[in-house]
């Protein structure tokens, strides 16, 4: 058992507790949290007087572990390029827990991430949720899979190199539509075979599509430009599937529409330098504009495109441009946890949840409030070095 005390605690799902207490059990779960909690005699105490405690940050769109980090091409496993439709690939099978990017995530205060394949293909593969400390990825998994990644706009049409479809936005939409049509027909055949007690050949490529159609996982659609975002919504409504918009860079241009559609937006990478035409309208105001229109806003690093170490700086910039402190904290914790389907375990500090938390030097979103320590399931996984 470990008793955290003295710190100002932001549970995120409730009001901040000045000089709060949090009791953590040996299973790494929060036993109790509040102004005062009953702790057994002789419990180990972590006195954080004058410090601030936040839930471990949650990043709903990351390529930590699969993208290489200062490694060159040998560490690059983000896009399985040869095929445009890649339902059968799974980020879990390429994640390197010993890549230094996991250390960057811990340094940035990020304790849970959704690792998704890249955006080179219209159907890019499965993503999953894991903690950011460990050596065996299977031990780090919180939930797998958590979504089927897809991509629209510039990337899939460019990745094909003109040698195969898609070479246009029309082609990308057609391939995605065809994929879900095939998955639907496949699902019907599978259900009939099962009902008839007949043998049935599993199709690895279509299984994730069927999971999406059955509502087991959402479609995670990369879209920057406003019309790409609208295309995603059109397609998903055709098939009645749940989705999140990944990036959603132009969201502020069509915020009314996205609000009406109750869209979940994974906004990032923050602090963008507008490397592509489809990101030309990037603005630091996007999270505030979308949140004010009722969009469920999650901030994401898209690591490596924003280094995970600077996630809180991105939050600060979103806050600066109009997202309230409370909304910004939610956008980095509970909102992404809900979007990933792991809010029963992470995303806020509540009894029964995992004891994933970070210790800051002060209230969040100031350069003075650096991350001092990062804890996962009650264990310290990062401590600020002194240079």
């Amino acid at each position: 058992m470990l008793l955290v005390k003295g710190a100002k605690i932001y549970p995120v799902t409730g009001p901040a507790i000045e000089s709060g207490m949090m009791l953590i059990n040996d299973a790494g779960k929060i036993e109790a949290i509040g102004q005062n909690v009953d702790a057994p005699k002789g419990v180990e105490v972590l006195d954080l007087t004058g410090k601030v405690v936040l839930p471990g940050l949650v990043d709903a769109h990351s390529h930590v572990g699969i993208w290489g980090d200062g490694e060159g091409s040998p560490g690059y496993d983000g896009n399985e390029r040869p095929n445009a439709v890649n339902g059968k690939v799974n980020a879990l099978d390429a994640t390197n827990p010993m890549q230094r990017s996991f250390g960057s995530a811990r340094e940035g205060g990020i304790t849970t991430i959704q690792i998704v394949p890249g955006s080179g293909n219209p159907i890019s593969g499965l993503g999953f949720a894991c903690k950011t400390a460990g050596t065996i990825v299977d031990d780090m998994v919180v939930k797998a899979p958590t979504g089927l990644k897809g991509a629209f706009g510039e990337n899939p049409k460019r990745a094909s190199g003109g040698k195969r479809a898609p070479s246009t936005r029309m082609g990308t939409a057609a391939l995605v539509r065809e994929y879900f049509q095939n998955a639907k027909a496949y699902g019907e055949k599978k259900a009939k075979a099962q009902a008839d007690g007949k043998p049935f050949d599993i199709d690895l490529n279509l299984e994730p599509g069927l999971m999406v159609l059955n509502g087991e996982i959402p479609f995670r659609a990369h879209a920057h430009r406003h019309d790409d975002i609208v295309t995603v919504i059109r397609l998903c409504e055709e098939f009645s599937i749940n989705f999140s918009i990944e990036h959603c860079t132009d969201g502020h241009l069509i915020a009314d529409y996205l609000g009406k559609k109750q869209v979940v937006a994974h906004l990032g990478p923050g602090l963008s330098s507008r490397g592509k035409v489809e990101t030309a309208n990037y603005t630091d105001r996007n999270p505030a504009v979308l949140a004010s229109h009722g969009v469920k806003v999650c901030l994401v690093t898209d690591h490596p495109f924003l280094d995970s170490r600077y996630f809180l700086a991105y939050g600060a910039v979103a806050h600066k441009h109009g997202l309230s402190q409370e909304e910004t904290l939610k956008a980095m914790t509970i909102n992404p946890a809900e979007s990933m389907g792991v809010a029963d375990r992470v995303g806020s500090l509540e009894a029964g949840k995992d004891a994933d938390f970070i210790v800051l030097a002060g209230d969040p979103f100031s350069y003075k409030s650096v991350v001092l320590e990062t804890y996962i399931e009650g264990k310290r996984v990062w401590e600020r070095p002194s240079y």
Partner: protein
Amino acid sequence: MLAIINARIETVSNGTIDNGQLLVKNGKIAVIGTNVDIPEGCRIIDAKGRTVTPGVVEAHTHVGIGEQGVGWEGQDTNEATSPTTPWARARDGINMLDSAFDDFRRAGITTANVLPGSANIIGGTSVAVKCKGTMVDEAVIKDPSGMKAALGENPKSVYGGKGQSPSTRMGNAAVMREALLKAQQYMQKLDNAKSEQDKPKFDKQCDALLPVLKGEIPLLIHCHRADDIATAVRIVNEFGIKYTLEHVTDGHVVVDLLKSNNSLCAVGPTMHYGSKVENKDRDFRTPIVLAREGVPFCFTTDHPVVAGQYVILTAGLAVGWGMDWNVALRAITLSAAEHMGIADRVGSLEAGKDADLVIWSGDPLEFTTFADVTVIDGEIVFEREVQ
């Protein structure tokens, strides 16, 4: 005429003036102090106690030649057709209407050094510009401000990939040394020529390198890895020429070398991701160690590698890592101007210098602070609408 009153003036070169005034005449700072006579008819800005600093100076960017949100049509950073292109001039490729210049003004950046990229061993001349106007020729402060050069991965990957030299770090050094040696011999022949007929035939490569050999401009050498930094210092010392080191990712590893040579270092882009093996150890440790050891340094984003407006965020993060606040502010103003050799004009608030300044909504280095007013050469180039 323009006067700023009721300001907390961070001069950078001469301490802080509380409740100060600053008078601008003909685009220059005329007087600065606490008891300045404000002439009649002068436009007065009441800073209402806000902080005023020199305009931010970015010593290593590709603004205007590596345009944002445009695609390949706006990419004019590397004349990657030959490993030595000293005759290329950044000035001839700058689009002053690149939207990044707007971002710079909004962020309080008033001066930028624009460098050719690092594909070539000798990439061409850089130019120092003010972030104003539509005509580059009206924005120039100093042209050329330096001669770009590069070691390490970039040139060897570009030319090695084409089956040309350089394809190794040995090749990088040999190509650089040979270009400098030829130019040196060319210069000696020109100096020794007693008549027009004696002069060597015009050689555009050697001719373009003469200002470097004569010590008129520095060689600005891209180097990340410790051994590339050492190679850079070795070669420039062979020729006794002026130089600066650009990026200097491993600078903390070879800090004694930098110290003994008093090397000017532009450190960054620290917030970038591990895109290459040679930048794998990018970290705030580098500027912290350089500052502690007294090595002259400034921060750079390498815009658009990291968007230039976040150079201020970089300074704030450095303070979070323990850098003195004044040193961090200097590293994005006067130290950057010294790096570029234009500290007689910009980088600090002193009588006689260009009236480039920023009024900030709070602590200039705080993540949530806005540049409220940006002034270049005495003209307001940006004024924030207060929402």
